[in-house]
């Protein structure tokens, strides 16, 4: 329940009009290192390694299983 409340609060944050940039201010944000999900293969390797050795899974994407390793 607390998790859902925190998530809704974060979504409300997005409604603050002072957040964000104009289209011509995206120079830094266009860098690969400033984008989420651009290292998909690396993140896939990490997720698989960690959920094979631990009791938690997911977070960044779906809590993938699909194997007998967890």
């Amino acid at each position: 329940m607390r998790i859902i409340f925190l998530m809704l609060s974060l979504m409300l944050l997005a409604s603050c009009s002072s957040l964000g940039v104009k289209p011509w201010e995206r120079d830094i944000l266009s860098k690969k290192e400033m984008q989420f999900g651009t290292n998909a293969l690396e993140e896939g390797f990490d997720d698989h390694t960690y959920f094979s050795k631990e009791g938690s899974s997911g977070g960044r994407g779906f809590s993938s299983g699909g194997c007998g390793c967890n």
Binding site: V21, L41, G59
Partner: protein, 449 residues
Amino acid sequence: MQLRPKSKRKIGSLLARASLALICATTNVAKAQDTIVNPGAKSGYFSGKYAELKSWAKWSGEVGFLGYSETEGRVQALEPAVTINAEFENEKVWSTKLVLDSLTGASPNGALVSGQPQTFTTPSGKSNYTTKAGDIPLDDTFKDTRVNVSTSWSQPLSRTLKGSVGLNFSTEYDYVSLGLNTSLTKESDDKNTSYTAGLAYTNDKISAVGGTPIPLAAMAPSGSTQARDGSDETKSTYDLLLGMSQVINRSWIVQANLSLGYSTGYLNDPYKIVTIFDDAAGPTLGDAQSYIFENRPDKRFKQSLYLASKNNFKLGILTTSYRFFTDDWGLSSHTVESSFNYALSKKWHIEPGLRVYKQSAVDFYDFAIGNSEALPKEVTADNRLGDMMAITPSIKFIRKLQNEKEMSLILRYYSQTGDSSPSEAIGSQKGKDLFPKVDAFIVHLNYSF
């Protein structure tokens, strides 16, 4: 059944094989690129077909390799992977990923360290293996190769809405999985905010070697009738993901994901056992007497909140994330990760990082059961569900290439520790390491094209 002798892989050999794999991959890509530049290099029919394929879509992808090696002869894994993306007109993308996962080495079977040698029956029931007194019981009879193929299609549905559908298939000798997923992403007009909703369904079939063990039944000696119910088992998982990302300012972007997952069906590990020990005062107090197969609930409801932030500073880019995970088995965990990308030059970047993970055990975790105790309905001695902590320092080297492509090498060291001396330890259990530490070297090699 895999009865090949254990192979010992040293880190140097692992890295040499990894380097060779990457060199071969890059050489093949370079040859393909050379053919694109010089179509005359291959004449006639094939060069024509190749040019036709190349013009069909805008191609990109990634080749990667994971090497994982635990110390003291435990689990070793080699995992090559490739992702290929075909981008068509109007931002439609078809993406396919292939992963091969080869596992060898020895894995804890859940039994407790004992003051006496211990003999265990292999999963097939046809033979056994012995652990010396004071050693961690490890099952080294499993050798596994898994093939995983996933494919997805994504396309814009309107100026600010994008949808995707995907399929995931995985097969190994005792486990087959098929999954479907779909998602919608909505961007604000100014592209500063995006919302994502995703659904996934996975159906797995578990065909344990030797047959599914009867939960909580005693492990029988090799060659005798084993406690098996003779059938395959299934597991279904439903996942919901709600996410959002928000640009804060020119140098700062954040992301938040809420994930809910519900699994039902066979959730046990069919190869894990729990020690029943002698809890009567005497010379054998604390020694193992027998072993039973574990049993977990047949439902699990998982929830997690994931928060991430990327900040650009003058010196470099800081990425930080936090994940809180909890479920109805009583497990909860906190994961904090951070890395700092520093540009050594225009072409070379270095990125040190650290991951810290802390987990509290599921309600039905126990390191072992005294023989005078009533047998619980659910119990596991699988350390992966126990109280534990894991620390992973890492370093990533990135070589930037033309057209925003790059190669990278990542080195990580995974170290997991738990309660080696629980207060409940008695007799011969005292002074023994009852939660074996896990130490593993991890190497990633990646090349994007």
